[in-house]
Amino acid sequence: MTNSRQLQPGALSMSNKSSFDSYRRRFLGGVASTVAGMGVAPGVVLHSVGHAKPAGDAVTGDVRWGMLIDTNKCAAGCDDCVKACDDEHGLTGFDRPETDAQWIRKVTLKDKQTGHTQTLPLLCQHCEKPPCVDVCPTGASFRREDGIVLVDKHICIGCRYCMMACPYKARSFVHETLQDQKPFAPRGKGTVESCTFCVHRVDNDRTPACVEACTAENHNAMVFGDMNDPDSELSRQLKKYNSRQIRADLELNTGVRYRGI
């Protein structure tokens, strides 16, 4: 155990457990009727349900979320993924590029020898062995069981050591006072943040905003899914095509893989 944080004991006592359960019954009842509705509604096609996680269940290591980015399909000049991320998380910026947060960015590469150019989105690589988690003094940087690397902003002291340690420059420090944050993307001055793989969407069995935007444009350069599930679209593609990790020499086993670099 590398982290001495503890949950508050007794926060849920027996007495309020019962009302919790009744709440859950009500809530699950609602979900069940919604799901039942799906079955009968005309024109609805439902492929391979089964993995959707009930809201009350904890995430497990059976799943490892990952992403495959095909740089051959990534269009030069297109930054729909970036815009979608900014919109999703309310990363409005203050017109100060040096200090404004960027969770995902488009990077252009030009081969020094051959002049070949290509472009790709760069975001938190959600490493299996993340250097940011290793160096964080308070344990605020952590890796969820399902492989998503997050910052617990409640215990982040803003030392920025994780930003020094990240090989991908994936993290941003919030340099100014913010207001009107998105409910699912709390962020505030003095703490460090980065791509969350849209964890609030993923927990509701949905796809990250960047992937959705890329697909909506019909570029289909980004595929998101469970690397541990051999039947997922992601695993199928990863198995079929050659892909690589950025800075593979560090052996961090990144969750984000690239084709065509």
Binding site: L7, Q8, A11, N16, S19, F20, Y23, R26, F27, G30, V31, T34, G37, M38, A41, G43, V44, V45, L46, H47, V49, H51, A52, K53, A55, G56, D57, A58, V59, D87, F142, R144, D146, D152, K153, T177, L178, D180, Q181, K182, P183, P186, G188, K189, V199, H200, V202, N204, D205, T207, V211, E212, T215, A216, V223, F224, G225, S232, E233, L234
Partner: protein, 170 residues
């Protein structure tokens, strides 16, 4: 000399406190905070997600517990979620009170009790209307390659309401 100065100051202090005395002695109700009404009741019998008395005393425990469960384990039940507190207790009008105002549900009481919190330095202090990101536009999502919902506006509305944190107390 010094003693005289101290006496003088004590007198000045006592005189300064006099106007406030009646209020302190009468414990006037007008001094109690005005707490804004919530928008929903869980049931006829129960006002909040826990009995109101309990919530007044222990809401921070519930929120803290939920915070860690959501953060570390991805548990996203809504009973003790801060987002749901805000959705129900704070108006979504554009000019709704912000945290720090006595008209904001949380600060109406925190101000009275001199409680300092930093929740709203990061969290939204007002409900935010669903934007594009919570819409389940058909064909643009891939549910991680596991399930795909297509073409049903009625259903989408329902899902959207659920995802957006609409009422579940049916």
């Amino acid at each position: 000399m010094r003693i005289t100065v101290i006496k003088l100051w004590c007198t000045v202090l006592a005189l300064g406190l006099l106007p406030g005395m009646p209020a302190l002695l009468n414990a006037d109700d007008s001094l109690l905070p005005v707490i804004p009404e919530a928008q929903h009741r869980v049931s006829e019998a129960q006002g909040c997600v826990e009995p109101v008395e309990k919530m007044r005393k222990d809401h921070m425990e519930y929120i803290l517990h939920q915070r860690d469960e959501t953060m570390y384990e991805g548990i996203r039940t809504r009973q003790h979620s801060l987002v749901e507190c805000i959705n129900c207790h704070v108006s979504d009008a554009p000019d709704a009170a912000r945290y720090g105002s006595t008209e904001h549900f949380c600060s109406s009481c925190h101000k009275y009790a001199s409680v300092q919190i930093d929740c709203f330095q990061c969290h939204a202090d007002r409900p935010v209307k669903t934007s594009r990101h919570n819409s389940l536009a058909p064909g643009t999502m891939r549910l991680h390659g596991k399930s795909v919902v297509e073409k049903d506006d009625l259903l989408n509305d329902k899902l959207q309401a659920t995802a957006a944190g609409g009422t579940v107390h049916e």
